[in-house]
Symmetry: C5
Subunit: 354 residues, 5 copies
């Protein structure tokens, strides 16, 4: 259940906008990295205090401040002061139990996403919150822990590959969203393989344990949906937004991410249908097995119970039982019993039980 | 069923706007408390008669009148007279079977919410109705019984913590709504734990009793939904409202509560899916157990019925049965029976029944 | 099935607007009562011919003509002529198989509702059609049979209780709708109790008969839904209507009825979910019982089949069976059989079958 | 499956607007009948060539050309030329696999409907396509085979009954649509009776055959839905249409048909729910029977297996078995066995198996 | 699972608009064919380099460039350069895992479709991506492999059959879309037959294997839906588009394709309902069989277990058992047993088990 709602009891009754970290502490120290670039300029450094970013902020070039690890409230507070962010947003960044959403605060746009990873061993999906703030010449991004999904973007900026250096902060924000969402395809591939394996197991070797695994998978699917469904609304919000922060040029790219999101949602819905199908398959598989067990029992019982009865009859101790004295009695009984057995056998054949 | 509809038979045929209390009487005496505050002023007192609030009402400062216990119709009537409230609203306040909703009466906005609590022992959710009336410089709140969920708000006003003293009555109303909705997260945490425990029970130790518990849980889920779903509409109504009573500044905060509501609804839907999953899990668990029982029966019967038949054959009393006279006949029969048993054993092995 | 569609074969091929009564004849003679009132005036009488209402119609006071029993086509035709009603509406009044709806004909508004009653003995819901025509200074109402649900309204008019005498025909129409819908809460209470009893029966004493009862209840639920769902549309239609016939003052009251309708629909949906839950409960209850039966069978068979085999072995008539001659053979066999039985017993204990 | 999609393989790759008949040939010769009427004029004849309708078309009176049998492409082509119809519409008329729809081509409105009939013997619903083209002073109708559903309309025109002779072509088109949709109520009555019979069968005498029948019924329901659901859209399209071809007067009548359609759809949905309920009822009926079978087996086995064991014990041939020599041994065993049987009987009583 | 998502891992982290082929390589060499036509002109050739199309592009006649095989990135890149296509579109053409969609880029409209084929042997549906770009005087089409579905269109252009030569590039694009969607009816026919066969199998000869086949079919249905549902949106997008590229004349034809799409979607939904019905049918079929097996077992056991008990009683070796000495004892026992058997037989008759 922990996956569906995080403990926030400590926060009850606080003033809205109070900064409290909700979630797990995923790394020791908060790491702040700063990239500042224009068509020609480029500088990158790891900074210790948020204040160090002040000179870059003033410049017309795009400033990207990335914070890994959000448990340190003071860092978030500093970012809030320097970039003039509304306290409710800071609260949302710290609360890792957010639903993906976007909010337009005129001077900047706030975006929350979920980054997913698939734990191959435990066969479960873990999710990490990524918050992005898009301002006119800066982008702030917050991750729960260091990850390399943004490394590709950094690489493109460094090497001045592609369009990224020529376009504004909105294109950078788009690139970050794209990086997160592109990663979902990897998760889906893995989940797809996992479902395929489960399918094999259900068809070839279903055990009571399988029920449990199917149940777990359904819960993972719920988590996946929970992270992905709101993305549709998020992106269509950005697309329809009339904020001057998003240029028409970038809109084409956002439409592309939107399409990816629709495709991801489609695939997840298909997976859900397929896992529901697996549960059905499992149940009819159990029924089939029960049926088979029943048939074996019935065949054995139906053949031998009458025969045992016959044997029982001639085991009676009546003084006057003429058959017992016929020398061919015993053989006749055998013949009777064998022909009873054989006719039963053909009866089951006819009924297609054998 | 009592949870889904309250007895209102006594009211049939009355004039609309007739004041009749529908619900349980939860406390002995109605308790009216009054807080009046501005940026600098602050006074708080418990009053006996609603009239005592008249001088405060006239002042430009924010007046918050909180009524605990709504069974006393005269108190509600007095509030209605003094604050000039439409009789239909008074009727709604008294009828604790309301659906959460908001209504805009130009001079004031009427809001009904449900406050939930989780009874840890009976494992059931209880709900209490909270009505809020937001006027231009006053807020009226009505609770079924004394509770401490508003205490945090009172504390913030008293200590002049946060923004609350600097903002108007709309921010106070928001704070009350926020307090009620924040409390839902606690309920969800508890319900989540409860589902987790049930899941354990279904997997490890399902009994016929479990069915009943699952059924009860599904009913609790319905109650939870009933209280929470209308909140979405309620809050989006407030957000889209063009009432001058709600300032733009407060709107940002209402959007925050709206996000919380969406998240709560999401979580409840996930819980519902999970409890549906639990019922499936329980059913396939029963099937698996039945299967196991059947296998045991079949194995025993399939091994011993043929053996009993063999024993029966040599228990027959025919006079001429050559095997009976062979000295090794008895041993041969044992060998036959043991090998029959062993081959059955391997047959079941092959079928994976053992 | 009769509840879901009424025989209208006789009508096929007729001109639209042809007056044919579809439904059951519920009373012998049509009864027409007329109330005419203003703030100060009031007169009430039972009339024999519709023409008698002509003088009242001309007056500015509110005229309420109530027709109990609609099988007499001539009465309806007369009403149509005198109050100038479109033939299609007359047709709808006569056809008691209408779906609740409202239609705005500029000069008047036509409203169809279903009045429900719960037959405590047969445990079924009966429905009766109520048609209301709201004109600028008159209200026409048509019921299938005499009923007392409008008596409260009459009483309020007579005794000049509440606002009713001071307001126009729209408030009267609202009062009639309110009376019909208020009555639904009584039905819901009874249905709720009925479901609760069924729940008890399913949990404590399920029998094959229960299936049938559950099936009947599901059908009653369908009927309930069919009557209630369209009310939402009906009332939101009236609320959004820009007809001058409905004053702004009355709109507040209609909003109140609208809220009741939403609540009734919510409750019905909850009942439906609960009855679906009952069916599941019943099925898992059957499964549990089957499981129990199987266990008893398996325990008995598993204990005694091997013992019977042992007894069978020593019932064989081989001439050379050394055990038979040992004096302690018989006792040994008993010990063997008892210890076999006891170990089986502990095996079942371990498996939690006992 | 043939009911859900018709073979159109022969048409693949053809130019859009190519005239190919898709469907069954339902009658030998195409029959063209023509009625021309105004308030006072009236003429009716059966024509051989479409050209014969030319003089009527020019006149201001309403011309109704009805074509029974649409397999003759040339007739359709001629109609197209003379009344100036778009080839895509001609293609749609010929393709009897259309979905009910309406299309507004400014000069005329094209309407496709499905006429249903219920085959009482095979218990299946057959559908026939009816196409209607409404022009400013003409109506063209096309049926797959001669039928009498339009006969009532013809009769009304002939006898100048009702409004029909005084109104324009739009009223005629409405009358035809009304005739088709009115006919659905007959089908629903029959389907309702059929479901009721099935219900009886499921409750009183379910057999494996019943499954098959239920499955067939579900398929019929799908077909019914397929024909009826699009009607809603069709009629609301006509109602909202701003085409000058439909007068405001006729709109009132279309609203009436629209209401009928909603009612038909409601009823079909209820039927669907009821047939889903029947499947559940059948399944729990099977489960109940299985349970009963199991109980009988268990009672018999549980009573006799222990008794047989006792008998087996005293059938053993040990030389030293003291009980055998007691003269009252045999009677004691009988008493033992009878009391065992009786206690079993009371045990089952207590368990409510008997 | 491979059908629901294609491996795109190699692409992660690339710049948006990077050209990478995602999908299988379906043919050896890319084949580019070019048709250029006007009302009177017509030329057709297979070209090796995209540049060869340059002279045609300049001309006012319609130029249709068809590319079979899209694995050669350079060809796509060349097309992009020459016709000035946005890199994101080129990326989408190469990624064969697109969802059907349409995008309006002012100068041209981009359309992605799925072409389906039904593998009769494996009973599975294969899908191929078809991309179409509609410019003011050109149409570009891209297929994964050579196919003949466009051959009919080519033929019509060559032979100047139908309207195609007189209309613009939008009509050509429409013709291509129509060709693809017309083909779906063939697939639906085959799928329909396949479901019909399965239905027969389930009714007449269900085996555990059938479960698997039903599961596979459900997966195929998901794939079908995935390809077809987005078409609705796609076509309504084209219909509502205000792009000057689509003339009003062509719109009528697009509406026709739209209708086909709706019909295809309807049919698929019906198929889905029917396959869900098949799973139910299969399950109740298994239950029925189990029931039958149980009955056979119960009949045999219930008849013979008591008889065996009787035989067992008279097989006891008590010294004093008076019946054994009666000369008619043996016959009496036979009579007893036979009458027991016969009464059992009638009991089962009464219970309708025989």
């Amino acid at each position: 259940m922990k996956k569906f709602i995080k403990k926030r009891s400590g926060k009850t009754g606080m003033d809205p906008g109070s900064l409290v970290h909700i979630g797990n502490r995923n790394m020791d120290r908060t790491r702040i990295s700063l990239i500042d670039y224009g068509d020609k300029d480029f500088s990158e450094k790891v900074i210790k205090k948020v204040e160090e970013s002040l000179p870059f902020k003033e410049r017309p070039t795009v400033t990207w401040l990335n914070v890994d690890g959000i448990h340190d409230i003071h860092v978030i507070e500093d970012v809030g002061k320097i970039f003039d962010i509304h306290p409710l947003i800071l609260e949302d960044i710290l609360n890792t139990d957010q639903r993906p959403k976007t909010e337009d605060f005129e001077k900047y746009i706030f975006i929350v996403l979920k980054m997913l990873s698939f734990d191959d061993e435990k066969k479960e999906i873990n999710s990490e919150q990524v918050s992005i703030i898009l301002g006119s010449n800066f982008v702030l991004s917050f991750q729960e822990k260091e990850g390399d999904v943004f490394e590709h973007v950094r690489e493109r900026i460094r090497k001045s590959k592609g369009r990224i250096r020529k376009m504004g902060s909105d294109y950078l924000a788009y690139s970050l969203i794209d990086a997160v969402i592109d990663n979902y395809f990897l998760i889906l591939e893995k989940v797809g393989e996992y479902i395929e394996n489960l399918e094999d197991e259900v068809l070839k070797n279903p055990s009571p344990k399988t029920t449990e695994v199917l149940h777990e998978m359904k819960k993972e699917m719920l988590l996946l949906r929970k992270s992905v469904w709101p993305l549709r609304e998020l992106l269509s919000g950005l697309l329809r937004s009339e904020s001057p922060l998003i240029s028409k040029n970038t809109n084409v790219y956002l439409r592309d991410v939107y399409d990816h999101t629709i495709q991801i949602i489609d695939t997840i819905e298909n997976y859900r249908d397929m896992s529901a199908g697996l549960v059905d398959l499992y149940l009819s598989s159990i029924s089939n097995r029960m049926n088979e067990v029943m048939k074996v029992l019935t065949i054995i019982a139906t053949i031998f119970i009458p025969l045992t009865f016959v044997a029982g009859v001639y085991g009676m101790n009546f003084e006057y039982m003429p058959e017992l004295e016929w020398w061919w009695g015993y053989y006749a009984v055998w013949i009777l019993m064998i022909s009873l057995g054989i006719s039963m056998f053909f009866y089951f054949r006819k009924k297609k039980w054998l």
